[in-house]
Amino acid sequence: MIETIYIEDDVEAHPRARRLLDRFPAARVIPCGRYTEVFNPAAQSFRLQKENPALILARKRGNLVLEAPPELGIGEGPGFYFSHMLNCLYDCRYCFLQGMFRSAHYVLFVNFEDFEAAIDDTLTDGGEKPSYFFSGYDCDSLALESLSGFVERFVPFFAVRPGAVLELRTKSVAIRSLLAMTPSPNVVVAFSFTPAEAAAAIEHGAPRVGQRVRAAAELAAAGWPVGLRLDPLLWYDGWRAGYATLIDGLAAAIPAAAIHSASLGPLRFPSKMFQRIHRMYPEDALLSGPLARRDDFVSYSAAREAELVGFVEERLRRAFDDIAVFFFTPRAT
């Protein structure tokens, strides 16, 4: 339920903003010059705002499409990311957004048409290999679909651009709009998973793992390419059994032919970001666990990381024939 909407003066007349204002007639509407006046000031409490985030309607100006770090790749072509939203409905304790943004308010950039133009500009520069576009870097691609209408707009846009691949990264089970469309071979719906017991403890507000598996299976049955994102990989009491159960459950529900790719990512925080997040949640078991500073990161030890990656990769390859597995190794920023 959105109680407060901040709106940039500049987008007050934008049809997408008008529709949202009409949808929440009881919300208090607060005009602002630029969204950054609300979103960026120092000394805001991300944790307290997360209790009742507001919606900010804004225009994205400049840097609409950015090059993705090469290690994010899920294919051979160049990678890009774009963010129609900042922040997420869910509250996962390992999420870097809580350390990156000062505010937990949801920012929705309503000028989708400018994103589309920027994507087309990027595509004209492209070569023979498809370009990969990631939409779930600063938000969950599907979780606020009922608000944003992102999927409804961008899936048809990418469907007629075979030189591009769109990855929708999500933990959401809001798949109705996707099921209502004809599947596009170049739109990958990538679900993030951690084992059920870990997810229940640290992915606050996110759908249960079983629900996510069912949503992925439904999309696969409808013909959508599905991605499996086991990122971050978590070390906890019983992790082997947890990952084995998770992967067996995925394999039982989703045929290997429907899997576009899997990617594995170790748990790593840039050091300063970790300090900020841990200060916010000093009582959290994951953040208080055996994490240590390695170079510019806070992470598990190299040995533990290798053990996790090795085990999970082996289980995935055993469960899904010929699965393409990518390894996400974040760099310090």
Partner: protein, 278 residues
């Protein structure tokens, strides 16, 4: 949980008197320059700032000397072009007319009254050109209070005292007092969640159990003290069933360095436990 504290910043004694009476505050003895009142048991303090942005800012600084985690609430009267006298509003935006800066207090708790933009001006106005509340302190108050507390804990509450139909010249000390007095229920409903938020913040800063005893047992350098504090916080989450001081004593660790190294090594080996998943 430690009790939450709220600091009230009020320009004039006539505005403050109903609050002083209602919350049974007594004159506070500390400091010069501003008159202040407090009820420590209720976690409330009040400072009389005087009129204007600079005075409000200075009063915040005066009251901020002792506490680290209070919430801040500016209470006062304001003018509006057509809102009825007595209408109460919480600021969702504080705008400083002379600097053109704006602040947006995040509304993270249930708000007991409508909200509005509060426009701080340097001189009282009678024509109210915009649909905002006009007053003279909120911007000075907010700018400085937000240096001492997260924005979520800094708010400004105004009661309409004058409008185009009833200009400020008709106000008396009694009528000002009544306007604030009639809003006490709303003010209470604001103070309550602010105290909760203040308490939440204070709790996160409470020193971990065992710190003092371990510091007394060995000589720790400043860096080691910081490390020990962090380790004890982790310990209380990861090994809540084992008393860290007892564990250190049992290990008979000879000095601060070995206490830190041993605790680190121990915590490194403990995997977090998550309950059954959904």
């Amino acid at each position: 949980m430690p009790p939450g504290r709220v600091h009230l910043v009020v320009a004039l004694r006539t505005e403050a008197q109903p609050l002083i009476d209602h919350f049974s505050m007594l004159p506070a003895s500390s400091g010069r320059g501003f008159r202040s009142f407090a009820n420590s048991d209720r976690g409330l303090a009040l400072v009389l700032s005087g009129v204007g942005r600079a005075a409000a800012a200075a009063a915040v600084a005066h009251l901020a000397r002792d506490d680290t985690d209070p919430a801040w609430l500016n209470i006062g009267i304001a003018g509006h072009r057509n809102l009825p006298i007595g209408a109460a509003r919480l600021a969702h935006k504080v705008h400083c007319a002379s600097s053109a800066r704006s602040w947006y207090p995040p509304l993270v708790f249930e708000i007991p009254c409508p909200t509005a933009t509060v426009r701080t001006v340097d001189r009282a106005t009678r024509d109210f050109p915009t649909d905002d509340l006009y007053e003279m302190e909120a911007a000075g108050f907010y700018e400085i209070a937000a240096r001492f507390a997260p924005h979520e804990l800094v708010h400004s509450f105004k009661v309409v005292s004058d409008n185009r139909a009833r200009p400020a010249e008709t106000l008396t000390a009694d009528s000002v007092g009544s306007l604030i007095g009639d809003s006490l229920e709303t003010i209470n409903a604001l103070i309550e969640p602010l105290q909760r938020l203040s308490a939440e913040l204070s709790e996160r800063r409470v020193e971990p159990g065992g710190l003092e005893r371990l510091l007394q047992a060995s000589h720790f350098t400043t860096t080691q003290r910081r490390q020990l504090r962090r380790l004890l916080r982790r310990w209380s989450v990861v090994c809540p069933q084992v008393d860290a001081v007892d564990w250190v004593a049992f290990k008979a660790l000879p000095d601060a360095g070995s206490v830190i190294a041993s605790m680190q090594e121990h915590l490194e080996g403990v995997a977090p436990t998550f309950g059954p998943g959904g």
